[in-house]
């Protein structure tokens, strides 16, 4: 069921301790800052967070990590020049890290949404990120077995929604939004604009409304 919600606080109110939360964005593009701030405020803790990075600077996901709400990060690129909050928690042994090659991260999220129980990919074969994983020779290459990443909740940012919950994005801010929306049991999208049903061209919809549960307009 789709709901249009007035505030980011109400939108994230149902997120429970121990949840797996996917957060869209690559760098700052597509990062749903307002929803992340609301998640911080709502107090949910013991979270597993799926994001390409592990927070930057003193905002968004970085603050969630700083405040000790994140038990485990699943990401491809935690270390950045300004990932000091993650770095500190990691060196202190206070956060778990599952490091995933970015393409495996994307494909595993996509697999969860598409009902795929697992797949073989050449990425990572023979590297420490494939240690202990099943391998198989397929299509002339050694490949590694990877499994889907499911989530309880996805927090994403889109440009516009219509009355049916269909979404369109803007430029490279699209990134993980569409696949996270499909992979999570409950998807919350912050958008800049809500159009009436019929306000989006059906040929250009990127995320069909079937994947969206809550929409909140953020000015």
């Amino acid at each position: 069921m789709l709901n249009f919600i007035d505030t980011v606080g109400e939108a994230v109110a149902g997120i429970r301790d121990g949840s797996t939360v996917m957060i869209g964005g690559f760098g700052n593009a597509g990062q749903p800052f307002e929803l992340i701030d609301a998640l911080l405020e709502c107090g949910a803790t013991d979270l597993t967070v799926v994001n390409n990075n592990a927070g930057q600077g003193d905002q968004g996901l970085a603050l969630l990590i700083k405040e000790g709400r994140v038990k485990k990060m699943i990401c491809s690129f935690p270390r950045q020049s300004d990932s000091w909050h993650f770095d500190a928690k990691f060196r202190a042994g206070e956060i778990e890290l599952e490091l995933v090659p970015q393409g495996n991260l994307a494909e595993r999220i996509r697999a969860a949404g598409a009902g795929i129980g697992g797949f073989f990919t050449p990425t990572g074969y023979g590297t420490m990120l494939a240690e202990g994983k099943e391998t198989r020779f397929l299509d002339g290459k050694w490949q590694v077995f990877e499994t889907p990443i499911h989530a309880d909740v996805a927090l994403i940012k889109a440009l516009k929604a219509d009355g049916k919950g269909n979404l369109v994005y803007r430029k490279t801010a699209r990134n993980f939004g569409p696949i996270m929306a499909a992979a999570a049991k409950h998807t919350i999208a912050q958008v800049a604009e809500v159009l009436p049903t019929g306000g989006l061209d059906p040929e250009t919809v990127v995320t069909p409304g079937i994947y969206v549960n809550s929409i909140v307009k953020v000015a």
Binding site: L2, G113, N166, A182, P202, P208, G209, I210, Y211
Partner: protein
Amino acid sequence: MSSQTNIQTSETPLGRDDLARLVARDIKPGSFVNLGIGQPTLVSNYLEPEQNITLHTENGMLGMGPEAVGDQIDEDLINAGKIPVTELPGASYFHHADSFAIMRGGHLDICVLGAFQVSATGDLANWHTGAPDAIPAVGGAMDLATGAKDVFVMMTLLTRDGVSKLVEACTYPLTGIGCVTRVYTDKAVFLTGPDGVRVRETFGCTLEELRRLVPVPLEPAP
């Protein structure tokens, strides 16, 4: 009153349209639904706008509208049965892998399918008679049967020869295992699952009469 009479809700068996109306009424507001080819398509005639149901068609669309007529006919806008259809406001188009990801990823609330046979534990046989000279064709039936949250079957209870299509175990080749949750027939609505078959209501017969037609244990639904 005995349980037999308690659950009879109609004096006569239901016709196809009455059955379609009943299925339509049972679909929860806001649901995303795929209606299979044939009898299930009739359900769309009885969905009320207030229900806010979104129809999916496997060939790449959400927000499918009624069958196209006259000038509406557009060869680029068809349903899974290759019938020209229309587009409702709020529709979206996507390619085949994305369309089946919707089905296979468990995102459809309900699909309604026809069947040759349904077993007491919800196995479905609806794609192949198994006849040696038959040319098999499966389409999206297995994806729907396996992927939708609820699989409703619509069928006549008996074959033309009077044999029950609700069976202990399917003799026709299977479409999916343990996937059917409800069976809507002209004579009764059955709830199927791992615990066996419960009868929600009967049409034009008592539960006792139904038990004589169907070779599986039947209990009234709680």
